[in-house]
């Protein structure tokens, strides 16, 4: 038994941290934040591509590194920690995973190597408006190989080359093209791009089975584990920032970190982060091992990580006091990202509901 990263994985993770430390300082995140015309950091995206991270979990036969999902989790943790302004999740956790799960050999051969090589940005388009995505909420249809519908929001939809779209009768691959209109959306996290995509008879290709909702959920389960590591990385960074400030800042002649209100706030953060880490590890095991426990483990990891990141990001601001409320402080980058990550694969409430549903199914079995 070894419930930890292996030494090789730790090395990879350390290298990723060093790389992002050098290439993804908060100035880079802010550059995307401050410029509404910039969807992501293109230079960083290219540099990350050169590291091969996008293909970490893609088999070598499809152009990836074939390392496995634990390695991808390690990378995700560091990307989350750096608050990287990249379409990494859309491309790798959603689209590449969907292709590996449901793609025909031809589809895999066509797309996975290009994703691994960095030539393709992906997006996963499921929502059509406010509220959870359900069989009833999906109005997008396919007729004669053409897809028509209105998806909002689609994370990275404005910059995506390949969009996997949920229609009434399944998932479809749609390539960027003239039959798609993109409208960029104003969101709580401008460091990540989102768009409304309107498809008007867009040429498409079926991906997997006719049960689109089930397929979407299977992709979400996989993405949830990977997102949980991004959330965990972000939450850990918030704790680190809060701790640093609590040691540096003096009030009434003492470090504020010496006051129990701050000490216990940070202890609460630590507890939530450690529970989230442990649950994320279990999710990583389930994902990597292809275990039947994945849906329950993914829900557990996602709920824990969403809770930890929300708490850490908001109490990090509180620990910083007035300074934490300024634009110039990095605190709000993490607060914003915590909202983006908590919602991009469905809300925490929806995942809690799914978690209990899984327990019911397990007990009924």
């Amino acid at each position: 038994m070894n419930f930890d990263y292996s030494d090789d994985q730790k090395f990879l993770k350390d290298e990723a941290r060093k790389f992002l430390g050098a290439h993804c300082g908060s100035d880079r995140v802010r550059a995307v934040l401050d410029d509404p015309a910039t969807a992501y950091d293109a230079d960083l995206w290219k540099a990350v591509g050169e590291q091969g991270w996008r293909g970490a979990a893609i088999p070598e036969e499809f152009g990836g590194l074939g390392l496995g999902h634990i390695e991808l989790c390690a990378i995700a943790e560091e990307l989350g920690r750096a608050c990287a302004p990249l379409p990494f999740a859309s491309t790798v956790y959603f689209v590449a995973e969907a292709l590996m799960l449901y793609g025909s050999d031809a589809q895999k051969v066509r797309w996975l190597p290009r994703i691994a090589a960095g030539d393709v940005i992906g997006a996963f388009a499921t929502s059509e408006g406010a509220g959870p995505v359900t069989a009833r909420s999906v109005r997008t249809t396919v007729s004669g190989g053409k897809l028509t519908g209105d998806k909002i929001p689609v994370t990275d939809g404005d910059v995506a080359d390949l969009i996997i779209v949920l229609a009434r009768d399944g998932l479809y691959l749609v390539e960027k093209g003239a039959s798609i209109t993109a409208e960029v959306l104003e969101t709580l996290d401008p460091t990540r791009s989102a768009a409304r995509l309107t498809f008007a008879d867009a040429p498409c290709e079926k991906l997997g089975s006719d049960d689109g909702i089930a397929a979407m959920q299977a992709v979400f389960d996989r993405a949830a584990v990977l997102l949980a590591f991004e959330q965990l990385g972000g939450a850990d960074r918030c704790l680190e920032m809060a701790k640093g400030y609590a040691l540096d800042r003096y009030a009434f002649g003492r470090q504020i970190g010496g006051y129990q209100a701050i000490k216990h706030k940070l202890a609460d953060m630590y507890v939530k982060n450690e529970l989230a880490r442990s649950n994320a590890y279990y999710g990583a095991w389930a994902l990597n091992a292809g275990a039947a426990e994945l849906p329950l483990a993914a829900a557990t990891a996602r709920v824990a990580a969403s809770d930890a990141y929300w708490f850490a990001s908001k109490e990090n601001i509180q620990t910083h006091g007035g300074m934490g409320f300024t634009w110039e402080s990095d605190c709000h980058l993490y607060y914003r990202r915590s909202r983006q990550l908590a919602l991009v694969a469905g809300s925490p409430a929806a995942w809690r509901e799914r978690l209990v549903g899984q327990l019911e199914m397990r007990n009924a079995a």
Partner: protein
Amino acid sequence: MDFKDSDAEATYRAAARDWLDANIAEHDAGHYPDDMAKAKAWQARKAVGGYACITWPQEWGGGGGTPIESVIFGQEEARHAVDGSYFTIGLGMCVPTVMAYADDATKRRFVGPAVRGDEIWSQLFSEPAGGSDVAAIRTRAVRDGDDWVINGQKVWTSGAHYSDYGIVLVRTNPDVPKHQGLTMFWLDLKAPGIEIRPIHQMSGGSSFNEVWFEDVRISDAQRLGPVDGGWKVALFTLMNERLAIGTSGGVGPEDILAFAAQANGADGPLLKDAAFRQTLADWWVQSEGLRNTRMRTITALSKGQVPGPESSIGKIVAANQLQAIGNTAVEAGDQYGIISDPALAPLRGAFHAATMWAPGLRIAGGTDEILKNIIAERVLGLPGEIRVDKDQAFRDLPVGA
């Protein structure tokens, strides 16, 4: 327990209502949060009617009324969309300090224009190194003949960019313990050497400012209270702050109730979701609790009692609730919830704005943690924090990196 006005109160309310009906119409009703000219005109009109600073003596331009009359007028005025927030700090905190500590000539010069809304005042206490620790002030004033020369920086100054005057707390003696070396002055915010820079908040806007002092020269006649006796003056100002605390603004239980009635849950409207309902009930209970606590405060005021630090509970509860309500509505949107565009987000983005503003509300005017300390120490009588800085000279105190 009675909500009914006494006969005298009912008479006052009727008169106020009549006056408002007559004057609001003329004045131009409607919502104008960013129109200072209209706000000033309305304040002037209220002064004429005796409704500006209702509890102040008439000789100073006030209404010569009772606290309960002030509350009644406030309730009636709130039925119309007028914005008095430009004057809250000046009339609630600064000018009362001037009235208590300045000489007659100064009072005659300033009180009337402030009551009439002609001149707006700011309070300049906070500094980068002293947020919760208000007395940790580093802005220096050095005596030069009949003048003082001020250098340093204030921060979190609400409304400095549109204010005319301010009261400022500065350090005049760094060689004594920190509370003993402070002095209060009033000053002209247009004076040479003062630079006002808006603070860009994480929520996007700029309600607050940094105010920089570079060799700002003021007369000793502008001093409020004794040299090195400013802390007592500041406490007087801050005591009035508590009385000036209003509601949080932003979204509340009624807003999310209305939203939930039409928002999609997984299985019908969000309002039918049992989990949401339990949470909504708790918010309702909090909000009603605060509303009814204000009723108790007004009752105490009407009996001539001075509300104490109990009112600190209001902001703790309201600010945390604002953050929870904002975020709950955001999360209720599921993926869509990330969209903050007012054209697409519910209630023109108010829940999203609340999510981004609430972190500031939990800090401004006393953090959650400071307010709980105030309740614990001043209401419950628990021991104060151990003060390592009490007896040391200010210049010897440890400071951060």
